[in-house]
């Protein structure tokens, strides 16, 4: 009996506690990301943003959540029920499970697997399913068009993201997330691999369907794209999943290029500040740029989007993979 407790039950409970320790702060972060988005865009456009619910409008995200929770969920008659309900759940779950391998500080990671970065890449490539399933199951034209656009867009940009990751891996020599961060102790990768950093960030915008690549939900053309038919909690799940994905992509950017939990300079006193603080600060910075971009740039046209992905990013990142590999071999900069 004791054996069952020590071998099975306790590890299970411990894992659940760890998962909750990751998921709950994440969901709070998502809630405040929506708040931050409205505030940031508000100030960029010289507006107030939400300021009514709670002090400075701080309770606004919870009010929104509550509103969506108590509304009626509508399932269109012509829709494919199972897939229709499955789609938002999938999106939301995928937004969360990526965090299993993200080290927020040294050793603070749910599962430090060998192929961490591939796992993240795999999870982010699955994101398209939620959208395409939603679009198809709604049995309606606008969502379907949105879903098709989104599928093409995400598949296209994934390719260049893959090559960007390859360049980082060439410099690290490991697929493990912790190793990737530790390899940046001397210099963060965004300096030697600057072009790749830029490509990664832009592809990240496309991968998360953010402006200026938010064609799948372009209001002017598609009334809001793949999630037109969704309401109440199912809509909220999409919303949450989308923002969780944004945070995930930012975290990837931080780990791959901005030194993860490492402080910006190699001074001892900077190490007194816990790594998780540095990590959150960096993620917030990247997220701020996400919002900044949304407030500043107009939306791409679809053919321009495809052109950028296939004819600019793909050849360039391929070329850069060769350059990086060549430099590593020529100057014998082999990792480790």
């Amino acid at each position: 009996m004791l054996e069952i407790w020590t071998d099975y039950a306790w590890p299970l409970i411990w894992i659940i506690i760890k998962i909750l320790l990751i998921v709950i702060p994440l969901l709070i972060a998502v809630a405040y990301l929506t708040y931050a988005e409205r505030k940031v865009i508000g100030s960029i456009q010289l507006r107030m943003g939400p300021n009514v619910v709670g002090p400075f409008g701080l309770l606004q995200p919870f009010a929104d959540g509550l509103k969506l929770l108590v509304k009626e969920s509508i399932i269109p008659t012509g829709s494919n029920r199972v897939v229709f309900i499955l789609a938002p759940m999938l999106t939301f779950t995928l937004g969360l499970i990526g965090w299993a391998v993200i080290p927020v500080a040294d050793g603070w990671v749910l599962s430090d697997i060998n192929v961490g970065i591939l796992y993240l890449f795999a999870v982010s490539s699955l994101g398209v399913y939620g959208i395409i399933m939603a679009g198809w199951a709604s049995n309606s034209i606008y969502p379907f068009l949105g879903a098709l656009r989104s599928a093409a867009q995400m598949v296209s940009y994934e390719v260049s993201i893959g090559f960007v990751i390859v360049t980082v891996l060439l410099a690290v020599g490991s697929l493990n997330m912790t190793d990737i961060v530790l390899a940046q102790q001397k210099v963060w990768f965004f300096i030697p691999l600057f072009p790749m950093f830029v490509i990664f960030f832009i592809s990240g915008l496309a991968e998360t369907n953010r402006a200026p690549f938010d064609l799948p939900e372009a209001e002017a053309e598609l009334v809001s794209g793949y999630n037109v038919e969704y309401s109440a909690m199912s809509f909220a799940l999409f919303f949450l999943g989308e923002y969780a994905n944004m945070i995930l992509v930012s975290a990837m950017t931080v780990i791959l290029f901005l030194g993860g939990w490492l402080p910006p300079f190699d001074f001892t006193f900077l190490y007194w500040i816990p790594g998780v603080i540095w990590f959150s600060l960096k993620v917030s910075l990247v997220l701020f740029v996400f919002l900044w971009v949304r407030a500043t740039l107009p939306r791409y046209r679809y053919d321009q989007l495809m052109r950028l992905g296939w004819k600019v990013f793909l050849p360039f990142s391929l070329f850069w993979v060769v350059v990086t590999a060549g430099a590593i071999v020529a100057f014998e900069w082999y990792p480790k």
């Binding site: 494919n80 591939l118 699955l126 395409i132 098709l148």
Partner: protein
């Protein structure tokens, strides 16, 4: 370990179940979705085998890219599956016969499966694998040295597939206007605008 065998049965049961559903689902889109589920669970099986790299690549390549395109095509094509199934009963006997023959062969073969003892010694490819190297490293060491020829040949094969797809689908449409960005950027003010002095009252 109980957990890993439980996980094995879970993954393999779902894989087989979804594989059956792929061919028996009425709706082709559901078929593709079940196919994806099958891929996903096979990836789980790979993880249980300790082949984590293969597992992730399976998800990235098959689920993340190939199956998306499948889904894309199936959704767009709007296949009439009733019509597709029309000949099903007619072909069932011959299909079943082939299936039974293959099944019988497999049973016969696996009933008597013994690896030739002499061939065990002549198998040359012993993988350099120990606990220090992750299986990503081990795979890389084998593919880029021992099997470099096959690796490159497979690369050429994919290149041909790509050329083929382009040859058979790309059409030049002379009527479509295309944006030439470098041309647009290169435009100078003088090329497109002509400033004229207009004297008032007379016009140009």
């Amino acid at each position: 370990m109980i957990i890993s065998s439980l996980a094995f049965y879970l993954f393999s049961f779902i894989t087989i179940f979804s594989a059956v559903m792929v061919i028996s689902a009425r709706n082709p889109v559901h078929s593709v979705l079940f196919l994806i589920l099958a891929f996903f669970n096979s990836a789980g099986l790979f993880v249980l085998l300790g082949a984590e790299f293969l597992a992730m690549i399976l998800v990235v390549v098959y689920v993340g890219a190939v199956a998306v395109l499948f889904l894309f095509v199936v959704m767009m094509l709007d296949i009439n599956f009733v019509e597709l199934r029309e000949g099903f009963l007619q072909y069932l006997p011959i299909g079943a016969l082939v299936g039974i023959i293959l099944m019988a062969e497999l049973v016969l073969i696996f009933g008597s499966w013994v690896i030739n003892p002499s061939s065990e010694s002549i198998v040359t490819t012993s993988i350099v694998y120990n606990s220090d190297t992750t299986n990503t490293h081990a795979l890389g060491q084998l593919i880029y040295t021992h099997y470099i020829y096959l690796f490159q040949a497979a690369g050429l094969l994919l290149l041909v597939a790509m050329i083929g797809a382009i040859v058979l689908t790309v059409r030049k449409r002379p009527t479509v206007k295309r944006q030439n960005i470098s041309e647009q950027v290169a435009v100078r003010v003088d090329d497109v605008i002509e400033v004229k002095d207009v004297t008032s009252g007379s016009g140009i």
